[in-house]
């Protein structure tokens, strides 16, 4: 009885502090001190993350929870405060708290077979330990799980779910269907918000997005150099957070400009010391494990380096503010993971050539159907190209699915085979 009361008290107390602006302001201050020796780009990310959380708790503007496939430019053009639950789950997992929320979600019937990032987010929602959303937007081009989970979020918070129903094909009629949805959504959100659509905001957002895009291209070009100036492992951490959530914002532009300068500087330095890199790897899938693990160490011990990761591939054309909805539609349907597998294979082909890849690791996130479902086809295709590929089963957020010994054996065997 006493224990139960204690638990309820603690739960309610955490609920209060996680919805309080001051908590995130304190976090921002503390992180600045703790990470004072980190790179400038990392500090910009921290600042961006805490600012998002502060604004989400303040609720001076509408807070939207969106999935990572929803173009952030659309959200910034609507003057919303975007929160990406998948990215928050990644941060929680990297802090080592993922399993706690996963267990909470599982106790409320979320199956262990579902994507662990959504299970972390579900646990967070069920505990009610996060500032709540005013609306939910998701885009369906990549996976079913995302569409269904975001629909669930809208039920938990009793708010509207706007689904961008992305077509499978990328022809003219598909583009029109998508553009009409985005246009109507834009109108409806402004209407619900009691405001008139702001054309200038679209212009500004697209302008920032296109400038950021240029820096991403430049960074990706620098990464073609041998040895690699930026590890894919790092790129799939805080950089990935910015890749999905900051495009179209001034902070995003500042981040990528800084990152470019850092990568350029590093590429000049490593140029002089190029003897350590023997095996250049391409990492397939949008994510990597975020909880403490030894995969990177296993790779580095065998002189391997993740030269590039498919998620950082820049697949869309510059956005055009004269035809904003069509432009956003094109960005959505040109995603290499959407549509037939050939699109992903073509992209992988391109990356192998550009980044002088020796071997490919497909991280088979347990619970991810869209990526893992095509892994064998990619492997068979690469076999014809004589590029070895390792299908590495694992989990991005659920550390219970990480087997240290088994993973090490597989990674080591693969890298030994490469040499």
């Amino acid at each position: 009885m006493v224990d139960k009361l204690k638990d309820t008290f603690i739960t309610n107390w955490i609920r209060k502090i996680t919805k309080n602006t001051k908590t995130y302001k304190l976090g921002k201050l503390f992180s600045r001190l703790y990470f004072r020796k980190s790179t400038k780009s990392f500090k910009i990310w921290l600042n961006f993350l805490f600012q998002q959380l502060i604004e989400a708790a303040q609720k001076r503007r509408l807070v939207v929870w969106a999935n990572i496939y929803t173009p952030s430019e659309f959200l910034y053009s609507l003057n919303l405060i975007p929160i990406y639950p998948e990215l928050i789950s990644g941060v929680i997992a990297s802090l080592g708290w993922g399993d706690y929320f996963i267990e909470e979600a599982e106790s409320k019937l979320y199956s262990t077979d579902l994507c662990s990032f959504y299970r972390v987010a579900a646990g967070l929602i069920l505990k009610d330990w996060f500032p709540s959303p005013d609306l939910v937007i998701s885009s369906s081009q990549l996976c079913d799980g995302s569409t269904k989970f975001f629909n669930n979020i809208s039920k938990y918070y009793n708010c509207k779910h706007y689904l961008i129903d992305a077509p499978y094909y990328s022809d003219q009629k598909a583009e029109t269907y998508l553009a009409r949805q985005i246009k109507d959504m834009n109108k409806q959100i402004y209407l619900d918000n009691g405001k008139d659509p702001d054309q200038n905001k679209i212009k500004e957002t697209f302008h920032y997005s296109n400038l950021t895009r240029d820096y991403i291209i430049k960074i990706n070009q620098l990464r073609e150099r041998v040895p690699s100036p930026l590890s894919g492992w790092e790129a799939m951490a805080y950089i990935l957070y910015m890749f999905f959530s900051s495009l179209g914002s001034k902070k995003g532009l500042e981040f990528y400009r800084t990152l470019y300068q850092e990568v350029e500087e590093k590429s000049r330095k490593v140029e002089k010391n190029r003897n350590n890199e023997e095996k250049r790897l391409l990492w397939l899938h949008q994510i990597r494990p975020y909880y403490p693990n030894e995969i990177l160490k296993n790779i580095q011990d065998h002189k391997g380096v993740i030269s590039f990761e498919e998620v950082s591939y820049l697949y869309w054309s510059p956005l055009d503010d004269r035809a904003p909805w069509k432009s956003l539609s094109r960005k959505i349907i040109s995603n290499f993971g959407a549509g037939p597998i050939e699109r992903r294979i073509n992209q992988i082909d391109d990356l192998i050539n550009k980044y002088k890849i020796d071997g490919v690791i497909h991280f088979s996130q347990r619970g991810c159907r869209q990526s893992c479902g095509g892994a064998f086809i990619i492997k068979d295709y690469l076999k014809k190209r004589k590029i070895p590929m390792l299908i590495l089963d694992g989990d991005g957020a659920d550390s219970r699915n990480y087997s240290k010994g088994q993973t090490r054996t597989r990674v080591e065997a693969f890298l030994e085979m490469l040499s």
Binding site: D113, L114, C143, D144, L163, D165, K173, P340, G373
Partner: protein
């Protein structure tokens, strides 16, 4: 009589005879507009996977939908090896990848393998988009098979399809009201056979069986009202039920399933395709009718319309005084698994007990599932007594 006839008829044994040299086209989703295939004089045959999914492990990850893997196994090494043409629907991640695997690994010469894009909502824009997809599908079929799909052929196909839907609905009402001696397992087998037989033959069979139903002396017409009247009424909800013996087990333990909210259950024949009378029906308007029918039909978990699903499940619970709900999902099926926590929570609030079972195309119904079914029905029985 019904049982023997249906259980023994494997489509492959009679393939050539049944198809009458018409091209056979495979399909696997209830959103497949079969009327277009019938109008094109093709024989639509649903892949009814039975094969062990591990046979497809060379082509697909083992942590992947067993239905898709079993279907692929059937195409690669199973009964459907000779199936040349396929019309798939953009149903879910699993079927999208199945489509990729079909094109990559299973590529018979001169085959028609097509994936029809299906919206996830039923908005006006979604209807326009889906209609344009159907128009394109008609064109592609006409070009590939060198045929012409006329308005009359489409109307005829819709009419035949409606007749079958009507007959199955009639059979369902007889089953649910216990007016015939038909088990749930056999009822689902009858539905499944309709997915693989030529429509005319199937229609004749249903007509004959239903006609027999009006003659009480026939074996299949035994009135067994008293036998099942008191059995707990159940609703089974999910996607595809891989092993129909599960239904038998539920019945053996005393449950009566009154609605099969499954791809191989009521969702496959519910409703009528209403062609507006007195109007000039050109191809466009007929396809519009088909579009509306398919996008407005009882939504499956794949569609993003949880409220509509909940509304009709709730209505069924009230209409049939359902006492318990069995959720049956195939392993790794995201579309239904994400709905589960919300639907079960809502049922709990209504004091309707629910049971979740998972299928993975195993050779036997697991002892665990048997025990859980038994315990669930005991709880329902206990609830009634108290």
């Amino acid at each position: 009589m019904v049982k023997k006839w249906f259980l023994k008829n494997n489509w492959l044994n009679k393939k050539n005879q049944l198809s009458n040299k018409r091209p056979i086209i495979g399909w696997i989703c209830t959103y497949t507009p079969k009327e277009i295939l019938l109008a094109a004089d093709l024989l639509p045959v649903r892949i009814l996977p039975r094969i062990d999914p591990s046979l497809a492990n060379t082509y697909m990850d083992s942590n992947f939908c067993p239905f898709a893997r079993s279907c692929l196994g059937e195409l690669m090494e199973g009964d459907y090896k000779e199936l040349e043409h396929l019309l798939l629907i953009n149903s879910c991640d699993a079927i999208r990848r199945f489509y990729d695997a079909c094109r990559y690994y299973h590529h018979p010469k001169n085959s028609f393998i097509c994936l029809l894009d299906l919206p996830r909502k039923d908005s006006t824009q979604a209807l326009i988009y889906f209609q344009s997809n159907l128009e394109l599908l008609v064109k592609r079929i006409e070009e590939f098979f060198q045929i012409k799909i006329s308005e009359n052929l489409l109307l005829q196909a819709i009419s035949n399809s409606n007749k079958v839907r009507k007959l199955l609905t009639k059979l369902y009402y007889l089953y649910v009201s216990d007016k015939i001696d038909l088990s749930g397992e056999i009822f689902l087998q009858i539905i499944q056979q309709g997915m693989i037989l030529p429509i005319k033959e199937y229609q004749t069979f249903l007509e004959k069986e239903l006609k027999d139903c009006s003659q009480p002396e026939k074996e299949s017409f035994n009135n067994k009202k008293s036998k099942t009247k008191r059995n707990p009424k159940l609703l089974i909800s999910g996607t595809w039920i891989d092993d129909l013996r599960l239904i038998k087990i539920i019945e053996d333990y005393g449950g009566k399933i009154v609605f099969f909210d499954l791809c191989n259950g009521n969702r496959s024949f519910q409703g009528q395709i209403e062609i507006p009378e007195g109007k000039v029906n050109n191809k466009e308007s007929i396809l519009k009718t088909l579009t509306e029918f398919y996008l407005h039909k009882l939504p499956c978990p794949r569609m993003v319309n949880l409220e509509k699903r909940w509304e009709y499940l709730n209505q069924l619970i009230q209409d049939y005084q359902i006492e318990g709900v069995v959720f049956y999902n195939l392993k790794f099926c995201d579309t239904s698994m994400y709905e589960l926590p919300i639907l079960r929570e809502r049922l709990k609030k209504k004091s309707i007990p629910s049971l979740f079972l998972e299928g993975e195309f195993s050779a036997q119904i697991s002892g665990r599932n048997r025990t859980r079914i038994q315990a669930f029905l005991e709880v329902l029985e206990f609830g009634r007594q108290t």
